[in-house]
């Protein structure tokens, strides 16, 4: 009875309240959910922006976050190998798990049976697709679809938010494209293979990686190869995710005179980066400033 009165009160006074409880594995998803769900959605995230999303400890405190959630959004493609244990630990039988990669054009999907000699973190292809802003558009639409089917009566509300966000993103996509135009055809060394989608979008030549193979720590012999590569190709910058140790890149900087550009690849990855758009702005500005 009390509940009914409360519901009536809310209906009468028009106070909006969160209808859907959402957990996002990463802060990029978190940001997109906030944009589309706004105040009809209560959202939390698991991996902090300054953490390597491949390796997150299976902590019971994350299970608590999932315990009462309606939806868990994840990047998929094996990025969050740790998430299944959290889902089991949450004991939540009503949780819907939405894999945002289902409509993404996936890159580096092995056409052979992959084994760990190829590195052990990208067994189902490269999962770092959010680094291409065109893919953020697809992710936003998936989120809209999932939220709408969870709460039908809010569908038009989510649609309005989606449209607003997509038009804002569209403007930025055009701006980023023109900013990156002079970088086209230039060679860059990246730390981890997080940059395939980004590099292809902007026509960057990926000359190499500081990691010998995805998920494998830098080694002195691989660094020596990179020194040769940097000198022969005249490569100017290493772009690295800021959650990795910069000791190997810094060594390359000393030996080959290359510049190290450390950037976040998630929201809240550094102080002041509070949205996906701010993150992409920051990355693109850093690359443009340092390579030209």
């Amino acid at each position: 009875m009390k509940k009914i009165i409360l519901l009536l009160l809310i209906a009468v006074t028009g106070i909006s309240y969160a209808n859907i409880k959402v957990v996002a594995t990463t802060t990029v998803i978190y940001d997109l959910v906030k944009e589309i769900g706004k105040d009809k959605v209560m959202v939390d995230f698991i991996a902090r922006g300054d953490q390597d999303p491949h390796f997150i400890d299976v902590l019971p405190s994350y299970m608590i976050k999932l315990r009462n959630a309606d939806i868990l959004f994840r990047i998929g493609m094996g990025l969050e190998m740790w998430s299944d244990q959290l889902i089991d630990g949450s004991r939540n039988s009503n949780l819907k798990v939405i894999d945002l990669s289902s409509n993404i054009q996936k890159k580096e999907v092995p056409n052979f049976k992959p084994d760990a000699s190829y590195g052990d973190v990208h067994p189902f292809g490269n999962p770092h697709y959010w680094m291409d802003p065109e893919n953020a558009r697809i992710m936003a639409k998936e989120i809209y679809k999932a939220l709408s089917s969870e709460s039908n009566r809010d569908e038009s509300y989510f649609k309005k938010n989606l449209d607003n966000y997509l038009s804002e993103l569209e403007k930025k996509i055009i701006e980023w494209k023109s900013k990156m135009a002079p970088v086209q055809g230039k060679p860059i060394i990246f730390f981890h293979a997080s940059w395939i989608y980004f590099a292809e979008r902007y026509g960057i030549i990926t000359s190499g990686f500081v990691e010998p193979k995805p998920g494998i720590s830098p080694s002195p012999s691989h660094n020596a190869e990179l020194v040769q590569l940097i000198k022969s190709k005249g490569i100017k910058i290493i772009v690295m995710e800021n959650y990795y140790s910069d000791s190997a890149p810094n060594q390359l900087a000393r030996l080959a005179g290359i510049k190290v550009v450390k950037v976040p690849t998630a929201v809240y990855g550094v102080r002041g980066i509070n949205s996906y758009i701010e993150m992409m702005d920051y990355i693109i500005n850093q690359i443009v400033q340092n390579i030209l």
């Binding site: 902090r48 953490q51 390597d52 390796f55 400890d57 299976v58 902590l59 019971p60 405190s61 299970m63 608590i64 315990r67 190998m81 740790w82 299944d84 244990q85 089991d88 630990g89 949450s90 004991r91 939540n92 039988s93 760990a116 052990d120 998920g215 494998i216 720590s217 959650y243 990795y244 140790s245």
Partner: protein, 389 residues
Amino acid sequence: MNKLIFTVLIIILSAANFYSQSSINPDISLIGRFNTFTNFIKGTSEYGKLNFADPEMELFVDGYLNPFAKAAANLAYEENVLGVEELYGHIVRGLPFDMQIKAGKFLVGFGKLNTVHPHAWAFMHRPLFHQVFFGEGGFNDVGINFSFLLPTGDLFTTLDLGVFKGNSVSALTDPNAVDRGINPLIAGRLGSFISLDDYTNLEVGLSSSFGIFSKGNINSSGNIFADPEQKSFNYFYGGIDFKFKYSPDAYTILTIQGEGLLNNRDALGLAGTGFNSYREIVQKITNSGAFLYADYKFEKQFSLGIKYDYTAGIAGDTPNFYSLANDDKNSTQGIEAWFSYYPAEETTVLRLGVQHLSFNYADGTNRDGETTIKLQFMFSLGPHKAHPF
């Protein structure tokens, strides 16, 4: 028996191979462990020599049965014997009160470390009190466990209650001399996990186990003999555990973990006086064991650690905890230190360690301390999941 297990193994492997034709196949993981060691124990043939222990293997097969339940098997090959270490089904969701049920043979949730497979430990030697009170393989039993998540807000608190067949507690005495009859034992743990900040986590737990560890009778010469119809020897274990982990970045982890066990149980003592004296269960005996270690992982690939151990009883002996033997007053202490190298995550580990044991006999027996130096190579093939915190 070994033949049977081999057959089971072949069936599992061929079933897995069959299922891999479809997209639904269980995960299969293989852990291999090779030890070389030398020790400085006078009178042993190993003294000062480079010894090669037989390789050890663990084969894990696990997967979802359906959206609500999982199943797992763990076959271990140790000291040239193949055995079923674990075999259980686990309902993880969909039950009333968000209960989880685990049934079969598995590592009992007494304390924190016991449920963690030894290949995931930071160190090489099983804590001494585990050896004395649980046996070489840890507290591993056949039974059913009910796990509840308590409504404690942001604190993750679980209550585990299990009923077990009880074969595991025969470690308290010579397993051949024990006939417990059909007397299930109880084991449970109340555990709480707290995130202190983004980088620091703490788990604390209280455990308990009790039941009958043996049934016996006393013959005319005053010796105990196993007899399921006769007197019950009860035991009670109380346990306290904590695990603290501080990880300021992806390259550095400091782990400090410790556990203590209090053992209280029945034993034979002398009743009556003079010529009328006779042996009877009149004694309640209390003793204890504990360990504490710290492991510091740095630059992602290296770790250094040290562990201190104490236990009642002599590690390595089969104690006789029926009677008021000196086993209760004897004790063993250990210090273990190690250096580990992890070239690529947990897939390969190279570990060099030293353990020194010292023995204390109540009757004044003098025994030299024992030092063992061990080099371990371990690999983990396949998707065997990391243990939660």
